[in-house]
Symmetry: C2
Subunit: 635 residues, 2 copies
């Protein structure tokens, strides 16, 4: 049973069934010309997957249904497997709207197959993720709910799709994305399907966003499934970008074929590229006709670069933005942003703007200019001091009238307020206007550490159309800077001085880089502390931190350098003051600022925005924390 199978690793454009259908039709024709008997497309490849509440538009659902019929009509002499929304116009979902399924369609010779042993002429998703950025239960009726409604068990409904093919009958185990991640669910789709009779092939169609390190994990999990089932497994994922408003996800594709021994025998390369991969699979021997491949690790800076590069290119194209303005300070974050964008959209479409005030050192001004020259971008210098002075003077010299007392009084601008005035002057006054005049938008260069604790000014450096490095901790920003110089540009586009200088906002004389003064964030420790608040699967709070501190295992738990904590905080009092300072900001102003922050390009397994959901509820310390703190400070 030799089958020529095409993996339709297409770019899915979310919310564009017209374009996606066109892409599919072209790939189907190509696959047929190439002699493929089967072509497999990703989950939800007609509508896209992350659409917000567009699923609540009946006219959109009808449209997707019609495009799905068009695909079935094009399935002459080829079996087309694809994901689409399956609509039951006669039934409602639990929100009272028309019922929608996240569905797997098998089309051949103009009709849909699989309705002989299932209530619908399509298969539906059994396990629906409702964690991280996923909202499946919000929109789709799962197989588990359908089973409950029909008075059956999910296992009864989990059946293969049988296809008569020229060279034999094919039993397909049709899985949708999360169906292959069953570890934490009481229903196990694969064994249930395998129990129902002869299955020759498992097929997992996914719309699985890129997350650093996820492919390695998927290879472990899916390989084990193929091995346990004793049949090959084909995983097809899309490329492109999709978003949930606050958070933007890239899709790397990486469609993979596993043989019955759980070995990877095919992997679509390169990542982040549409591909029509043809795999000749001998199902008689479970796909062992092809040699096993090594799959490299995917949790390194090269993948971060690929995801950001691809994400910037696709996002700017998607919103029709051809030109971009970046405020460059001579610091590392804006430099890395500039180097990323220069590669992604071309240096001639990039305008770098340095906006010094009296606090900006000659060193950083010079480094900014050097960076612009190295990248070959348009460049200008727009000082902000005059405007900042004008604002302070205007406010301080204009009386406010209090009608209750009849008195007039003057407002006073403190040094701290003036720092924020500078930041807003740069972004909201200069960059926004310059970007409009240049014909584009301006970027937000905030990193994840700053974003965690709101170390930024709203409508100032927190502003921009996209936070491309907003999901990178500061140490990852440095890693990426080195990677850009070494591997992307092959020369020192980001000057060494920018790597070496102390990170600083340069908004007051307390942040004088020439004197080695900089940010209050000690990144080699705080990067890891903040990461434990956000990215640990079981989120850490001060209670956990203090317990680990007391037990002497904090650095091991956080993953930062041993000895660092004692060095930074000689006493428990200093340690606790620091911990509370940042916990307060993380839960206080940090949340308020993130609510109004730009979209973040996600690479980690927990990006701010729609992935890490939060309420503006203020700061809380558990009772055990308070007890532990009392104990530590009483010693």
């Amino acid at each position: 049973m030799q089958f020529k199978i095409a993996l339709g690793q297409m770019e899915v454009r979310p919310g564009r069934p017209d374009i996606n259908t066109q892409t599919m039709l072209e790939m189907i024709n190509q696959a047929r010309r190439d002699g493929a008997e089967v072509i497999i497309f990703p989950e939800m490849c007609i509508p896209g997957y992350l659409l917000g509440d567009t699923w609540e538009q009946p006219s959109f659902l009808r449209d997707c249904e019609e495009y799905g019929l068009e695909i079935s009509k094009a399935s002459d002499r080829i079996t087309v497997l694809f994901g689409n929304v399956g609509v039951d116009w006669q039934k409602t979902g639990e929100d009272g709207r028309v019922r929608k399924y996240n569905a797997f369609f098998v089309a051949r010779d103009g009709k849909f197959w699989g309705g002989d042993n299932f209530p619908y002429p399509f298969r539906i998703k059994t396990l629906q993720p409702n964690y991280r950025q996923f909202d499946d239960d919000r929109h789709f009726y799962s197989l588990r709910k359908l089973a409950l409604e029909l008075g059956k068990t999910p296992e009864e409904l989990l059946t293969p799709v049988y296809l008569p093919l020229p060279n034999g009958r094919l039993g397909l185990g049709c899985l949708l994305c999360e169906d292959g991640w069953a570890a934490d669910y009481s229903t196990k789709p694969i064994p249930a399907i395998m129990n129902k009779g002869s299955v020759n092939l498992l097929i997992n169609i996914s719309s699985s966003p890129f997350t650093l390190g996820k492919n390695n994990k998927r290879n472990r999990v899916f390989a084990e499934q193929a091995r346990a089932a004793g049949v090959p497994l084909i995983y097809v994922n899309n490329v492109g970008i999709q978003n949930n408003g606050k958070t933007i996800y890239t899709f790397d594709g990486s469609s993979t074929v596993y043989n019955k021994n759980g070995e990877v025998i095919y992997c679509s390369r390169p990542s982040f590229k549409p591909n029509l991969d043809l795999v000749e699979l001998d199902l008689a021997n479970g796909g062992t006709n092809l040699p096993a491949l090594d799959v490299p690790a995917d949790d390194n800076v090269s993948f971060i670069y690929q995801a950001l590069h691809y994400g910037i290119q696709k996002f700017t194209a998607a919103i029709g933005m051809r030109k971009v303005v970046i405020g460059i300070s001579g610091g590392i974050d804006s430099a890395v942003s500039a180097a990323l964008y220069a590669k992604a959209i071309g240096p001639s479409n990039l305008l770098l703007v340095n906006m010094p005030s009296r606090y900006n050192s000659p060193t950083t001004r010079q480094l900014a200019r050097q960076l612009a020259e190295n990248l070959g971008c348009c460049y200008t210098v727009l000082p902000i001091q005059e405007s900042v002075d004008y604002t302070v003077k205007q406010i301080e010299s204009t009386p406010v009238i209090n009608p209750a007392t009849g008195e007039k009084f003057a407002l006073q601008i403190t040094s701290f307020m003036s720092e924020n005035i500078q930041a807003r002057d740069r972004s909201a006054r200069v960059l926004a206007a310059v970007a409009a005049a240049f014909g584009g938008g301006f970027t937000c260069n905030a990193n994840k550490a700053e974003t965690t604790v709101g170390y930024s000014t709203l409508y100032g450096d927190q502003a921009g159309f996209l936070a491309a490095i907003g999901d990178l901790w500061k140490h990852q920003v440095y890693d990426l800077a080195r990677y850009l110089n070494r591997h992307v540009y092959g020369r020192e586009v980001i000057p060494k001085g920018i790597m070496d200088i102390v990170p600083s906002a340069e908004l007051s004389s307390d942040q004088d880089v020439e004197a080695g003064k900089g940010d209050p964030i000690a990144y080699p420790y705080h990067d890891y502390l903040f990461r434990s608040f956000v990215q640990r699967w079981d989120k850490a709070t001060p209670e956990d931190i203090l317990q680990w501190y007391e037990q002497g295992i904090l650095e091991a738990k956080l993953g930062c350098r041993p000895g660092l904590v004692q060095q930074l905080f000689p006493t428990p009092r200093q340690f606790i003051d620091d911990l509370e300072r940042w916990w307060n900001l993380f839960n206080g102003l940090g949340v308020a600022k993130r609510i109004q922050a730009p979209p973040i390009l996600a690479v980690s397994r927990r990006a701010f925005g729609f992935d890490h959901r939060e309420a503006q509820n203020g700061v809380y310390y558990t009772r055990r924390y308070r007890q532990l703190k009392h104990k530590l400070l009483s010693v």
Copy 2:
């Protein structure tokens, strides 16, 4: 069987189990002193309900559990019913984290009851909402999933809790919020519980946010449940505010008792106020011992005012903001904001700022001053023309260097760009600094029509710490203005001139109010068009609109004035151009702006933010729309 039952309509502080437990302990003691045999608290009254991903902190869960034990210890001689998170530390949820239930606890004499006929010593939520702002499946394991795991039906697990009381055994049907809204679910909790034996009383503990008109609907639905079951039903809801970051919800309480005939025999009044209501219920006659009450309609402007007034008070208090700055233009939106805040936080804590440019008419300047005087707020005038001129001149006169060509070029600021510069100058330069100096934040005065189509400037009038009227259509803003004058202030604080003037941004000579020129939004029509995009349960798209237009039923479908469409758009071409203009903005720049917009105080059944979720996916027109358009334009 006469029972004295206390409804513990408490204020729940989200994320503050310490404070909530203290509140409960005080109310328990008071109820005991008042001779109550039972006290009923709302759903999730210990942790709060809308907490974002705080549910992923194990230390927080432990803390809530311990506070729950404290409540049970306080249940000496009184039965305490309350909501809390129920944790099973031995099992996992479907996200792999420790398993959490949205749980209903029955405590009496220091122990939890109900474990004799159920797997846990608490009841758990069967129906979990995953629509609008609700994310229950993200965090909690439903009874339906538990049943599936145990190989049972949900109905088998739905059992009453039996309580031995001094004057008899009480069978309680314990429901959590959505369990009482079963219409669209295949599992029906109430009949299932009633089938299990003697039930004397249904109790629905809720954490149900205020939505205009929801109480009337709830009274219809819950009354029918009590009637069908033939036993009284007690509904206990909390007050306070909770939020999901982008969207802030008020909770009105309105705890209600229905007798076995479905008549309302008690309703906690006033709304939005913590109450310990005592109800003497004779269960022998199904609560018919008390007279039936009329419950007034709740979908009028008075409830909008109450919700906004309460929301502003609670939200400013929650984030520790005592002073507020409002930019007032002499237009209706900022005037209504000012009048709301003056009542909510006191006029002396409010600073109103008028920021004229050359485009602001003497009329609106004078109206702004008049408003400030009427309200008795602090007031100042800070013109922006000089600063705006400086910005334009600085950008236009500073050369940009293009290193590729070696050439220098100048950027040009157009009139449209200058409009946005003015808006940002007001908010990001003036108001943000003035607010800091005054010791508070500044407001966003955008209404829902502007917010729908992004008719605002990012970092300009779109900025602020809270959009208090961001969930009101323009006609609701006018209604509220009249209500404020007539019923709240009892005098014309908002000058008639502000009500009468044409709505205008006054950012260019094209928006000259003296010449009657104003906004491009024709509110009497567009308010209703936009509402159909956002608030219809089945969201309308241009396909629906055009179909209704063709059928001549558009105004009836939208709910706007008959004849208006023909009057505004004499030809199909004009109608379609207008439709596409706003649909493009709604799905394009509108989304981008909402991503960075401030939190909105929700009153409608669909507020922007976490309630109406959206992706920045651009604009789409269905195939049928394109066909219909072609047909209409070909006639």
